[in-house]
């Protein structure tokens, strides 16, 4: 089964998810990696990994990702190489062009995929629904090709030097209708660096009210932990973004991650699931956070916090 992997890069660096896609791809068949960039030659070595048989470079005008350009390039690659499966990361960039290319080309499509199986010649993808509480197997009857956006950090990054051939594909793209201007750094503040903390006490929407933040700040201080949060608390302006754990926040790996009232959405888990020991408190025993936690308690977070307070 032929596989096309679209490499993702930012500021001249191949992103980790690309090597994960190669791992997933080489389990299915020979892998072609597409490098779409202003100077793709500089990125070729980084994707010449064991299991990659071919690297195809597409030279574009833009210095960074632009969705029209990527879409045109990926459509040309699919028309030319006719892969059965095209793999992209389930990333912000892919969200901007993957579904567009797939619906246009009539490909089968699924995103946030965390399992792939082959049944004869048919691809079966597994993904979750309803707050990651149930899984579904998806099939793509009648589709000549399938595009899957794979959840990051599920497959391990591929290693080992490969001996892929390198070819170039010329793609004439219409001018981009959405043009990259600049990459702006996340606003840095003088706040603590949660990535350096060995013990994070993390709170989510379950705390209910802004007034309750302070109590957890105090509890964290007492326990010797650093306070971190899930995204809704930052969206609501209750805490600065420097404290946010997750895909669009910080990736953390403390020895202990103690979570109060966090459901365990994919984008949150992406930032903390590599923590040493995860302990989660949630009133919902089916919350997805319990899938990655080593210890859990089905309890009201305020009751547990109150009792913890007494112990420190």
């Amino acid at each position: 089964m032929s596989v096309l992997v679209v490499a993702e890069h930012l500021r001249g660096q191949i992103r980790d998810v690309t090597r994960e896609l190669i791992t997933a791809g080489r389990e299915l068949g020979p892998v072609t990696v597409a490098v779409i960039a202003q100077d793709p030659g500089s990125l070729v070595d980084a994707v010449n990994i064991d299991g990659v048989t071919e690297i195809v470079t597409v030279t574009i005008g833009a210095g960074e990702f632009e969705n029209d350009t990527y879409q045109a390039a990926v459509e040309a690659l699919i028309a030319d190489r006719k892969p059965r499966v095209t793999l992209l990361g389930f990333t912000v960039n892919s969200m901007g062009y993957g579904p567009a290319a797939a619906v246009k080309l009539g490909l089968g499509f699924a995103s946030d995929v965390h399992g792939i199986a082959l049944e004869g010649d048919a691809v079966v993808a597994t993904r979750s629904f309803y707050g990651s509480k149930v899984n579904a197997e998806l099939e793509f009857p009648g589709a000549e090709g399938v595009m899957l956006l794979l959840r990051p950090t599920v497959w391990s990054p591929a290693e080992g030097v490969g001996d892929a051939s390198v070819a170039a594909l010329e793609v004439v793209a219409a001018p981009s209708r959405a043009r990259h201007r600049e990459v702006v750094e996340a606003t840095t503040s003088s706040d603590v660096d949660i990535t350096q903390a060995d013990f994070l006490l993390s709170i989510g929407r379950g705390i209910g009210d802004k007034e309750n933040v302070e109590m957890f700040q105090e509890l964290a201080a007492k326990m010797g932990a650093t306070l971190s949060v899930s995204r809704p608390l930052v969206d609501a302006g209750w805490m600065p973004s420097s404290r946010q754990v997750g895909q669009s926040g910080k990736t953390v790996k403390p020895s202990v991650y103690l979570a109060f009232g966090i459901s365990g959405a994919v984008q949150h888990l992406a930032g903390m699931k590599a923590s040493g020991t995860i302990i989660a408190i949630n009133t919902d025993p089916e919350a997805a956070i319990f899938n990655v936690a080593q210890y859990g308690a089905k309890a009201d977070l305020f009751d547990v916090a109150e009792e913890l307070e007494k112990l420190y």
Partner: protein, 250 residues
């Protein structure tokens, strides 16, 4: 200035689950409806554009009669009118095709969608819709800088790790809106009551076109080892947590 906002009524699963007889979805009795979180931000963004530039905010959803509750929440926030499309499959391509038919006839200046829906997390509908409408698009938008009559807008796309990609985009365009872009307003009681009275324009989907996928089986995943659940009173739970923390922080 006309803005179309595509919204979805999501279905939330509690702590118990049963599947439908065919095993392809969760039994609706176990699902609670809600307005998709991302869509409240998209609606708010459209309302703020209208406050600044005048014009109209039009809502569109695909779903059964029950999903009108989500439309009425956004009407109560201040949207002008609402369209519901019946008989659409739930995969993102079927939804995008149905939306495209209705949205294209609106000739909007901007089309806003949520980045994703919380019950399916596919982040696909808005981008597929843009393709079907042949419009420029930007995904995961955290800032919109747009002036009436301008041919372009400047938008911020939020990348991983909090980096921001600033993009100049031709308009009309489709933007998928990220949470935190604004502070969605609460509707007051009077507005909620008024929204109950608004007539919703119901259309039927033309259908056709291949779905993105077909669900062949839905099931509760094997949790593997899963978490060791600590039982007992809050005091007992707290004591156990304290001892685990102490043991792990050498």
């Amino acid at each position: 200035m006309k803005t179309v906002v595509c919204i979805k009524q999501v279905l939330q699963l509690g702590d118990e689950v049963e599947f439908t007889d065919d095993g392809l979805d969760v039994d609706p009795d176990y699902l609670d409806p809600a307005l998709n979180e991302w869509d409240s931000f998209a609606t708010e963004e459209a309302l703020q554009l209208r406050e600044r530039l005048g014009g109209e905010v039009v809502l569109v959803t695909c779903g059964s009669k029950a999903s009108e509750a989500a439309l009425r929440r956004c009407l109560a926030m201040g949207a002008d009118r609402a369209i519901r499309i019946e008989g659409v499959d739930r995969d993102p391509f079927s939804v995008a095709r149905a939306l495209a038919e209705v949205v294209s006839a609106e000739n909007a200046d901007l089309v806003l969608c949520g980045v994703q829906s919380s019950d399916a997390v596919q982040a696909a509908t808005g981008t597929a819709l843009a393709e079907l409408l042949d419009l420029p698009r930007a995904a995961v938008v955290t800032k919109v800088d747009y002036d009436a009559g301008a041919r372009t807008a400047v938008v911020d796309r939020e990348l991983e790790g909090g980096l921001v990609d600033r993009v100049e985009i031709d308009t009309p365009a489709v933007l998928t809106i990220q949470t935190g872009i604004n502070e969605p307003r609460y509707a007051n009681l009077r507005a909620i009551k008024q929204a109950e009275q608004v007539e919703i324009d119901v259309r039927n989907a033309a259908g056709g076109g291949a779905p993105a996928y077909r669900v062949r089986k839905m099931f509760v995943p094997d949790r593997g080892e899963g978490a060791e659940m600590i039982d007992g009173s809050p005091a007992e739970i707290a004591a156990r947590i304290a001892s685990i923390v102490k043991e792990r922080l050498v």
